[in-house]
Amino acid sequence: MKVAVDKALCSGHARCNAVDEDLFPLDDLGYVEFDTAEIPAGQEGPARRGADACPERALSLLE
């Protein structure tokens, strides 16, 4: 599973990071650091919760 960030929508709420700071690392400004990231096996639950926590709907999971 991968997670993708729509950089045009991420506005630094950092709610994904509040769910799991390792899966959703932030840059110095507090915005999500990556464009897409691989989710390690077994981490699908927190990845989904992190994506669901985004008020901008900027995160999507790619199976």
Binding site: L9, S11, G12, H13, A14, R15, N17, A18, V19, L26, D28, L29, G30, Y31, R49, D52, A53, C54, P55, E56, R57
Partner: protein
């Protein structure tokens, strides 16, 4: 249809501040409101609110409240649209990022402990004046790098700039007086730092090193930005805390849940998030930059739009049963801090202040209630507020 009996500015019970939108949202996502002095569109629905706030090209921040449709000057950066907004935002974001917040924690904890200890000894308090306004003001001084001795002065200016008359309106002369005092103070500080070359690990002195599109901002621009931080970060936090504490004082099961959570040393995150969702205090505005159609309504360039954030936050589309507080709700990605490029830059700081303030209170005062005979009155406008919040039923009685 046009609504004629809704008012942006008013007073009433604490519950009414957020309940005023429930019946309206059940009927439509957007409604045109005609008041005697102004006309604007009001967005009530969660998804529509998010889509509008994410689209600054159509919904411009040139105007940020229908109460002030022709602002004489632009507040930086809240009234700038991208791309002009972006470099300012990037400079400021460093100081308000989640990583930066850890530095502020000890100061907030210390001040919270001092205040709650004093209050507990007294056995009653006006939570708003004696606690809720104090904490964010101390934090503001800390972020800016100003000495804590300036607190009384800033509290006084804050009262002038942000405290309404008994009818919920603001006396423009008092407001201007408070604001000019703040401007004068920052003018003096920036001039002094320019002169002495003094730089520290704080926002005020580091601003002098900024470049915006390769050019150093003028002192007027920097002062404008400082003033925005002052106006946006104080009563919003104070009122979010007061609405939260009013809720807990009047809902025994929720109060016990919070006290038990604190006693067990468990995370305050879900509690704070739910209170922020249900009692979102700001109502924010935008101005149409071009004609657009929403649900069969023709909106025309120049029209004003109001987004009462609490209305979107209590929409069942966001989370089932959104019309009541539920600390076990789980994540509800609400818009209590707005959305889009202007998402409240102080959101991480506000959350931290709320967590520490509620935790520190309940550690020392787990049980309390409204003081007898002192039913608090609320007001609303750009921010939902209260005229006071008298709590009692604790301490050495």
């Amino acid at each position: 249809m046009t609504l004629t009996d809704h008012r942006i500015v008013g007073t009433g019970t604490v519950e009414e501040a957020g309940d005023r939108f429930e019946a309206l949202r059940a009927k439509q996502r957007i409604v045109k409101v005609t008041e005697p002095d102004r006309t604007y569109w009001m967005v009530l629905d969660h998804d529509l609110m998010r889509e509008c706030l994410q689209n600054p090209a159509v919904f411009s921040s040139e105007v940020v409240t229908p109460l002030n449709p022709d602002p004489p000057f632009k507040m930086i950066p809240i009234q700038l649209d991208p791309p002009g907004h972006t470099p300012w935002r990037q400079h400021l974001a460093r100081y308000f990022s989640p990583k930066q917040m850890a530095k502020l924690r000890p100061r907030i904890e210390e001040r919270t402990r001092e205040l709650v200890t004093e209050i507990k000894e007294k056995g009653s308090c006006d939570y708003l004046a004696e606690f809720a306004l104090q904490v964010p003001t101390v934090v503001f001084l800390e972020v800016m790098g100003l000495p804590v001795e300036e607190l009384p002065k800033f509290l006084e200016w804050e009262a002038l700039a942000l405290a309404p008359s008994p009818d919920g309106t603001f006396d423009a002369d008092l407001q201007v007086g408070g604001i000019f005092s703040v401007i004068g103070y920052f003018q003096g500080e920036l001039a002094r730092m320019r002169e002495t070359g003094e730089r520290g690990d704080n926002l005020l002195s580091q601003m002098l090193e900024w470049e915006i599109d390769g050019v150093a901002p003028t002192d007027d621009e920097l002062i404008n930005c400082c003033l925005l931080l002052f106006l946006a970060g104080l009563d919003t936090v104070a009122m979010s805390l007061s609405y939260s504490m009013h809720h807990l004082a009047t809902h025994e099961a929720d109060r016990k849940h919070v006290a038990a959570t604190v006693e067990a040393g468990e995370s305050m995150d879900d509690i704070v998030e739910e209170l922020l969702r249900f009692y979102a205090v700001p109502e924010i505005g935008r101005k149409l930059a071009q004609d657009t159609e929403i649900d069969g309504n023709q909106l025309v360039a120049g029209d004003l739009i109001l987004f009462p954030l609490v209305s979107g936050n209590r929409d069942d589309a966001l989370s089932p049963g959104a019309d009541h507080v539920d600390f076990n709700r789980g994540p509800a990605p609400h818009l209590g801090f707005g959305g889009g490029p202007h998402r409240c830059i102080g959101s991480h700081l506000a959350r931290l202040e709320m967590k520490i303030a509620l935790q520190g209170w309940h550690e020392l005062i787990p049980d309390y209630g409204l003081a007898p005979g002192a039913e608090p009155r609320a007001y609303w406008g750009n921010v939902h507020g209260m005229f006071g919040l008298h709590l009692a039923g604790f301490g050495e009685e």
